[in-house]
């Protein structure tokens, strides 16, 4: 049968997706897809859906199997050859800890989210694509747990990652982000994760950070990172296709979609502040600053994207200008949060060295020397006098993003940005206009926020003292937390390096 061999990619794809769908006979469509309408999105013709990546299920299995073979060969080799000893510095591992405890559980959340969407979207094209993405995300979390499993043999802070993800104060930031998306309707989830996160922001998470891992000798992370990222292009394309399809189907969809784009851009921007800090402060050998990454992946790539989408009337996300201005501040402000709450974190912190501060001055010429260098120098002096600076009170958290309210007024880096709203007799506090708008649009949802600090005060977190709460988080005090200097991680690293020097003679 030569006829089959002669089918082009487009025909093959059509037969193996559209051709597999059927019209229900004994159930109504609305009974089969009960979540398809309540969000107000109007779809008139699912057959107009275009799949830019024409990946059929058989080709999908073939390529994914190939990726897995390569990936696990590298991970196995990294483990067999004690790859952890080839890292640039023990400090680097803290970036990996934050990634594996903060981001990897989101891969699992994304798996579940796309499985749900893959079941509940009435169109066959996006359903197949969402099903593939669901499997991809499961693959990602598995590869990351394999990596975690190796690092957990040698370094502290990784032993209880799923338990920690549900409890630890700063992990509630990424967790609540995904809980928010997964409790939304299927179309909002698609825009939240498929478009705003995957297309607009995920490059900032994976590309420069994984390149940084490559630069710091972390073969394991580079490999899971780029293997995951090889699926990401397909995910990004699915995201952009969803948005184009919704906007083409009915003009009434535009205001709904715009609201979601505004919301999820801002939610994503806040979560990625953790990555900003990883890039600027936690990579011993730095590859590019957060500011530079933002310019490439948001200003330039996002600019082209939104110009393309302007033909549908969609505009650049609200507060994109604020987020761009914050790129000069966010990594410094976040690192300052973790430095002063290092006793309550599952990874170690440190002050940037003189050389690192010079790099930061060069990369942030308008802000670092003026606002942030003095802060680190003051803490350096205090540490020298034996008075290492800790914040011994608990921080006020933003109701929406759940991050300590450490961000400053747009245009005034000397004053904290305080915003608030009233709802049913209570006051709610926010770090920004972006987070306040999100609350004001859906106060019913966010008045249920599980804010770690308030939960401690309510007596739901194991006790009132820091020690009791950390035990409830299952953190090992004195090992997982506090400064890198003096940590068991550092002591072990120093012993490895000393052994190497002895051998080298």
């Amino acid at each position: 049968m030569n006829a089959v061999a002669k089918l082009g990619l487009k025909q093959r794809y059509s037969l193996l997706t559209r051709g597999l769908d059927w019209e229900p006979s004994y159930q109504s469509k609305s009974a089969i897809y009960p979540y398809a309408e309540f969000e107000g999105i109007k779809i008139h013709d699912w057959s107009k859906w275009e799949d830019p990546f024409r990946l059929t299920m058989d080709a999908y299995w073939k390529f994914q199997a190939e990726k897995e073979r390569k990936l696990y060969a590298v991970l196995d080799s990294f483990a067999q050859n004690n790859g952890q000893m080839g890292l640039t510095d023990a400090r680097y591992v803290n970036a990996v800890k934050l990634f594996l405890t903060g981001v990897s559980p989101l891969e699992y959340q994304a798996h579940r989210g796309f499985a749900h969407v893959g079941r509940h979207i009435p169109g066959v094209g996006p359903r197949v694509a969402a099903q593939m993405q669901s499997l991809d995300e499961l693959r990602h979390v598995q590869t990351q747990i394999h990596t975690l499993s190796h690092y957990n043999k040698f370094f502290d802070g990784l032993h209880e990652f799923p338990h920690m993800h549900d409890r630890v104060w700063y992990l509630s930031v990424p967790k609540s982000f995904f809980d928010d998306a997964r409790t939304a309707g299927p179309f909002e989830y698609f825009i939240a994760i498929g478009f705003a996160f995957e297309y607009v922001l995920t490059n900032l998470l994976f590309v420069p950070f994984m390149s940084g891992a490559a630069y710091n000798g972390d073969l394991a992370t580079v490999t899971f990172g780029f293997s995951a990222q090889s699926d990401e292009s397909r995910h990004m394309t699915l995201g952009i296709e969803v948005i184009k399809f919704l906007l083409e189907q009915d003009p009434d969809n535009l205001p709904i979609v715009q609201k979601w784009v505004d919301k999820w851009f801002w939610r994503g921007h806040r979560v990625l502040g953790l990555v900003a800090m990883m890039m600027d402060y936690m990579l011993p050998k730095k590859i590019m600053s957060w500011r530079e990454a933002w310019e490439i992946y948001f200003t330039e790539a996002g600019g082209s994207l939104f110009q393309d989408l302007s033909r549908y009337g969609l505009r650049v996300p609200k507060y994109a200008d604020v987020a761009t201005a914050e790129a000069d501040h966010i990594s410094h402000q976040n690192w300052a949060v973790f430095y002063q709450y290092t006793h309550a974190a599952g990874f170690h912190t440190w002050l940037p060295s003189a050389e690192e501060m010079d790099w930061l001055s060069e990369k942030y010429p308008t802000t670092f020397d003026k606002y942030y260098r003095p802060r680190f120098e003051m803490w350096g002096e205090m540490a020298k006098e034996g008075k290492r600076f800790y914040n011994n009170a608990l921080p006020q958290l933003c109701t929406t993003c759940q991050i300590p309210m450490a961000y400053t007024e747009p245009g005034d880096p000397t004053t904290i940005s305080f915003r608030h709203s009233h709802y049913k007799g209570d006051t709610y506090h926010f770090c920004s206009d972006g987070c306040k708008d999100i609350f004001d649009n859906e106060p019913e949802k966010y008045s249920q926020s599980w804010l770690p600090v308030h939960q401690i005060f309510q007596g739901n977190c194991g006790g009132a003292s820091v020690e009791e709460v950390l035990k409830w988080y299952r953190l090992n005090l004195g090992a997982d937390n506090l400064d890198q200097a003096g940590s068991p991680d550092q002591a072990q690293w120093d012993a490895w390096m000393e052994a190497r020097r002895r051998v080298a003679g």
């Binding site: 009960p34 979540y35 309540f38 969000e39 107000g40 309707g185 402000q333 300052a336 949060v337 002063q340 003026k370 606002y371 003095p374 802060r375 120098e377 003051m378 803490w379 205090m382 008075k387 600076f389 800790y390 914040n391 011994n392 009170a393 608990l394 921080p395 006020q396 958290l397 300590p404 309210m405 450490a406 400053t408 880096p413 000397t414 004053t415 904290i416 305080f418 608030h420 049913k424 209570d426 006051t427 709610y428 506090h429 004001d440 649009n441 859906e442 106060p443 019913e444 949802k445 008045s447 249920q448 926020s449 599980w450 804010l451 600090v453 308030h454 005060f457 309510q458 007596g459």
Partner: protein
């Protein structure tokens, strides 16, 4: 604007998680020392509303802000205070509630002449 939910009476079933009743007689109070951003954000406490403002001045502030080199130099008579944006003049004998401090109120204070480490607002 209201949430768009699958369940029609979703809004009526919402349980507000941080209702004052959940704090065992306390209210949540946020405190913030302006122009001293080495304390990264305002800090949160569960206080009884009957707590005298004087206890805040005598115990809470030195305990949590005392590590900063500027703290010892504060001229307390000159400090400017606001509670939820309204100027207040503290009376150490009177309670937090008497000063208009309620559940999830924000108390900010400015210390004239002190602008953080080397004037850097840190």
């Amino acid at each position: 604007m209201a949430v768009v939910a699958l369940e029609k009476d979703y809004a009526d079933k919402v349980e507000i998680r941080d209702r004052v009743e959940n704090f065992h007689g306390n209210i949540v109070v946020y405190l913030h020392w302006e122009e001293h951003l080495s304390f990264c954000s305002a800090v949160a406490f569960p206080f009884p509303p009957s707590m005298p403002f004087g206890a805040l001045l005598a115990e809470i502030l030195p305990t949590y802000y005392g590590a900063h080199p500027d703290f010892a130099a504060i001229d307390w008579a000159a400090v400017r205070w606001t509670v939820d944006g309204n100027d207040v003049t503290p009376d150490p004998e009177k309670s937090l509630a008497d000063h208009g401090v309620g559940h999830k109120s924000l108390i900010r204070f400015w210390t004239p002449g002190l602008h953080g480490y080397r004037g850097s607002f840190s």
